[in-house]
Amino acid sequence: MEKLKSLSDFFSQHKALVDQTDPNKPMIVVCGGTGCIALGAVSVHQAFKEAIQRLGLTDEVTLKSTGCHGFCEKGPAVVIHPDRFFYPGVTPEDVTEILERTVMAGEAIERLAYIDPASGKKITYEYDVPFYAGQERNVFQYNGKIDPVDIEDYISHGGYCGFAKVLDEYKPEEVIETVIKAGLRGRGGGGFPVGLKWKFCHEAEGDKKYIICNADEGDPGAFMDRSLLEGTPHSVMEGMLIAGYAIGASTGIIYVRAEYPLAVSNTAKAIELARKVNLLGGNILGSGFSFDIEIRQGAGAFVCGEETALIESIEGQRGMPRPRPPFPAVAGYHGRPTNINNVETFANVPLIINKGADWYSSIGTEKSTGTKIFALAGTVANTGLVEVPMGATLRHIVFDIGGGIPDGKKFKAAQLGGPSGGCLPTQHLDCEIDYDSLQSIGAMMGSGGLIVMDETNCMVDVAKYFLQFVQAESCGKCTPCRIGTREMLDMLEKICDGKGQPGDLEELEKLANDVNSASLCGLGQTAPNPVLSTLKNFRAEYEAHINDKRCPAGACEALLTYFILETCVGCGACVRVCPVNAIEGDKKQRHIIEPGLCIKCGQCFNICKFNAVSKDGKEHAAI
């Protein structure tokens, strides 16, 4: 594509690209997200490329590697357009058959079809797969459709049209009004109204203003920002351009975590291409508006996701938060007005401009509009990325889309909002999820990490896990967070080790409230949430640890005693896996674990096909 000199250049180029596209041309889409790559997507893509050449189909078939389709568990995923045949777990050996039978003859290959774990039925088309059928994909619409960096592909699907429309028709104030009217709230955790934040920054005095895109995504269990940057970096950049125009900024910075190499390289390529065609740089599309974007890589510190710590980090300092006010909108990067939004927030903006504030606010709930992407993980059948309207129920996400809990186990809790969030038990399954409803039941939207836990997950252990995390990530600047989380962790470790005493829980609760009210930044303020929410919803489990020295879920090592039950058939499988030779017994006779030698690694429990290994000390004592 040539350099676009004016807005009319852009619009005619867009029309030409749309006219060129033939929606009926067969297209093979291989998912190129990190998950599918880990499962072998690169060699599948290569095999398709070779087979297409070998069969002389280069002109008839389009082959694309796109961003993550979201259904990471079932990778490498392949979709054949226009019919949208869906094949999970494809290998290079399947490629020729797919080309000959599905692409050329329009025939479904039964052997490769997806089997729905809930119904046991084979499913042919992508839109019939329950994981996708229950979703509403707006922000995610391009993932799975376009080549992540190809700017022409993005434009032919309506990309940069929102930005062009803004340049053409809107005053900066009108952009802000539209975003306020749409009701968009920040997707990075806090849920602050986006238009309002832009307005503050627009009104702030400053010779230079900045737009920062927060792609630090430190929340363990969340990976939607990564998928968006990997799969449609242009849509995030378009959102930044629109924000830059509204606020009057000329520089954008994307702060991305170093653990995301593919996101970094795709975004860097996308920036390069946008500069080439005059969608970034000086005097964009001849409009007089200038804006450029650079990438900064994080260096591995969770606290740098917090906006003021992030600014310290890009200024080359230790990433320690600053007290607010002043807010970054007034004094941020280099002391200048700075607007920080999350990746997903920016990716929502072009949609609002293209389809209008009324359309946008018709989706979701009254106070939380639009859709939200959740990263569904943990002990659930279908893991991956799920985009649903705000207000969807937990049950819809975990059971309809996620397919419920595998291996016949029971749902115990859903952890939402990462280290700042809480654990929701069964009675909240029908709660409609939005920013405010979650807050009212002691959880938090956070960045949208949603981790499902079953009956074998111990809630005290989970609380301890999060405390370990925040304790390690606390930057150390303020005492309540640095020392308070340490103290809380010590208490939880004591309880998990079977050394808890009556009164510990009251003490823990008190300390949690102190840390919450006295910490400097969001990290410390929200660090007690996982403890408080589990104390509220699973108090009996804490009490079992303290009073009975028992871990009902069978997870806290110190409280377990491995023991072989009468149902043992003496197959010897456990003897072979035991790393310390602690199991003895004659063939076909009940085996015995020598407690003095057992290191409680759990391998015998996992390998036993007869459920003959128990880990519950209580059961042991009873026998």
């Binding site: 790559i37 170093a258 653990e259 995301y260 980090s313 080359g316 300092q317 993980a377 990462g418 990490g449």
Partner: protein, 155 residues
């Protein structure tokens, strides 16, 4: 590459660029050698104390040499609830080293990471740039045996 060349390749640098500078040094040397940091301090007028402060704040930076292959295991929530802590133990057992340590032959360094962002495939580990999902004790054993024999072959 000398320190001056390295700084030169980055265009105009200001104290604000300290993190990208350190990232570049680590790319070149595999860790942050003390002498190099002192030289950078001289050339950029960033105080050595500040460089040390930044280098020790971020998990990504290392002041000691590391193994040829970096093995990372996720300790994130999604991995934790699917047996991630057992996986960490298994890797330690197989390698015979603790978290943050390097094997004596300088071949392997083992680290744990807050989240590898591949939570759908939990539990997850990484060897250099390659992800390995849905791991268990058996797969770890095979993987590390393969890595060891690859090391022997190249030796």
């Amino acid at each position: 590459m000398t320190v001056l060349e390295l700084l030169g390749s980055m265009g105009k640098v200001t104290p604000g660029d300290l993190i990208p500078i350190l990232q570049e040094v680590q790319n070149q040397y595999g860790y942050l050698p003390q002498g190099v940091l002192l030289e950078i301090s001289e050339h950029t007028i960033i105080p050595a104390s500040r460089i040390y402060g930044v280098a020790t704040f971020y998990e990504q930076f290392h002041l000691e040499p590391r193994g040829k292959h970096i093995i990372k295991c996720c300790r994130g929530t999604a991995c934790h609830v699917r047996g991630g802590s057992t996986l960490i133990k298994d890797i330690k057992n197989e390698l015979g080293i603790d978290e943050g340590e390097t094997t004596e032959d300088l071949q392997f360094t083992f680290e744990t990471v807050a989240c590898l962002g591949t939570c759908a495939l939990a539990p997850v580990m990484m060897v250099d740039d390659k992800y390995y999902g849905k791991m268990d004790a058996k797969k770890v054993k095979t993987l590390i045996a393969e890595l060891r024999s690859a090391v022997k072959e190249t030796a």
